[in-house]
Subunit: 203 residues, 4 copies
């Protein structure tokens, strides 16, 4: 249907823009504390100590967003056509991506005190991850992607790493509160394992 | 006039950028409430309850912006040339698009108490929608678009869905306040009907 | 010098990005006033009255930024090569473009009470306008642009409209405070005159 | 490994986006002071005096970001292929780039009173600079760049200018607090010297 044709280049521009802005807006979760100007340097440094959890969450969310962006690009490397439903799926993905600065601030403010705050953060990652999995499945089933079987399965498994980590993190957050989020740091190792499995001679 | 030539690719980049940023700035309408750190989890969850109207408005505005972005892209799929007036129309569109995070915050803060807040939000959507309709009409009348008659009428009708929904919502908001905005969720159904009407064999 | 070669496409991407973000950040100058939820609708509307000067400034700044973006694009339509100095000039332009949300907030907060606030806003526009004039002159003198004489003079004159309006506005702001900024609304008329002068048969 | 192929154009879009947004978010470090509307113009101007250190930091950070963006573009002018590790290095670069609005606000708020605030700002620049050096070395060692020896050494030396300036600034900040940051203004001179050394006949 001619009026519905949409080059993938366009949705990619929107996606890249929203990823770039979400990543950069994460900086707004770093609050400069209000410190009087008459302290000693060591007292000042002690006051800045409140920044550590914020910095860790900033780093973690940026890293997760970077991972999602890679998954998106791996997929669109092979997705050659779009249709209205694929665009809809991607707009839902973007709704969740753009929320990550919010859920990051949630976890960096309340993640130490309340597991609910961590669950919100992890549910955000989980849903975004699942939608990218759905995106790939939908593209494959509707013949929008041109890809060989092995790569297709590799991308499918890669897309599942974030959702699985999020489910584990949600389970852990009942016991470990904010520490449960450290599980996200294992994502690159998981991906490396998948790479080795599917493309043993490369790397 | 040679100095006035402007590739459509450039206005598209600006448009995509402003859509991406407006969508992502919507996240700033989600305010982390100020909650003491000594409550029980259920008390914390109850306090987070104030986020629901904000989340609904966030979702709704993102969705409407996504719809406007699609209309824009449908149109520029066929608009092959620009002239200064078309650029002016598009800059006016962008002024309204960039205001949506503001009118979203307006409706998510005051939409339950005052119908005026809803009217502001709906008037913003209405004007943006009308301008995109004008954009298409202008492009057609001035021979800037290359398109067959059926697709042209389809895009014209598609462009009218948002303004019509906005007018209905403005009428309802006198009686239903913020609930009137739920009418925007019917947009995809309206578009599906139009698609079926104009391109019966496709889909 | 090979390592210094830079395609114009890259500086254009940065420029478009910064224009898009500056335009969209203008929305942050629109503050939702803090209003109790128990007023009548007319009282609520009266309270929203404080938004008018902010909305006017928002509109004006967006419009001026749109005009500067057009000048930039007219110029880069013909600038085919860059060199480090041209990039430097453009980065200085961007420093001033990115400041416009700040000077807009300045004028929308204090423009009615203090002419200094208006001068800051107008000086920002003046400097940005002058730098784009310098940009064009530099490109011409160093053979970076491929353009015929008439178009070249047209772009030169076009680039001067904003600085001249800014100087007039600065003079008027001593007497008329914020109202002096209305002079910027005459920009399109000035440009139309220039178009008629240089390209009489077109339009 | 086919699924890992990624065009450099994509990482460049993300990089340009994040640079553009970080630069523009710097404007949020400029705070409109809260001034009563009944002062004389000179009293108003005196109150605005608090903006000077903020404006200097804004200018400085924008300038440094502009310099880093140029280094990035010089490098990607010659980097023709990417691999997952190169993308990882670049995402780490972006984490640091996106933090610059934060460390700029840190230095513009506390840089006069505490050398620690300056060290944070300078460490941010230092790490970003080092990562771009690592990026280039990595690309060269893994055959991802196509470049002659002289240009390669020129870019390597260029990439070292910012880290070296940052180390000097960190040393000076113990004695000169915020003034130590003025050393960053010497970057263009350093780069000019390098240009003369490597490409004597050009310029």
């Amino acid at each position: 249907m001619s009026s519905m044709r949409m080059k993938t280049s366009r949705i990619e521009t929107l996606v890249d823009g929203i990823f770039a802005i979400s990543m950069t807006l994460l900086v707004l979760t770093l609050d400069i504390p209000n410190i009087p100007s008459s302290l000693s340097e060591t007292a000042f440094q002690r006051q800045l100590g409140v920044l550590w959890p914020q910095l860790l969450c900033y780093f973690l969310s940026f890293w997760i967003l970077g991972g999602l962006w890679r998954v998106n690009h791996q997929q669109f490397n092979f997705i050659k056509r779009t249709n209205p439903t694929l665009i809809t799926i991607n707009i839902f993905c973007l709704i969740l991506i753009a929320m990550i600065p919010f859920s990051t601030e949630m976890v960096s403010t309340y993640g130490i005190s309340y597991f609910t705050a961590n669950i919100i953060f992890q549910a955000n990652q989980l849903l975004a991850g699942i939608l990218y999995y759905v995106n790939w499945e939908y593209a494959l089933w509707n013949g929008l992607a041109e890809v060989d079987g092995r790569t297709s399965r590799f991308i499918k498994d890669s897309s599942l790493v974030l959702p699985i980590c999020s489910i584990i993190a949600m389970g852990l957050s009942f016991y470990m509160y904010a520490w449960s989020n450290l599980i996200y740091l294992t994502i690159p190792a998981f991906k490396k394992v998948l790479e080795r499995k599917y493309f043993p001679k490369a790397t």
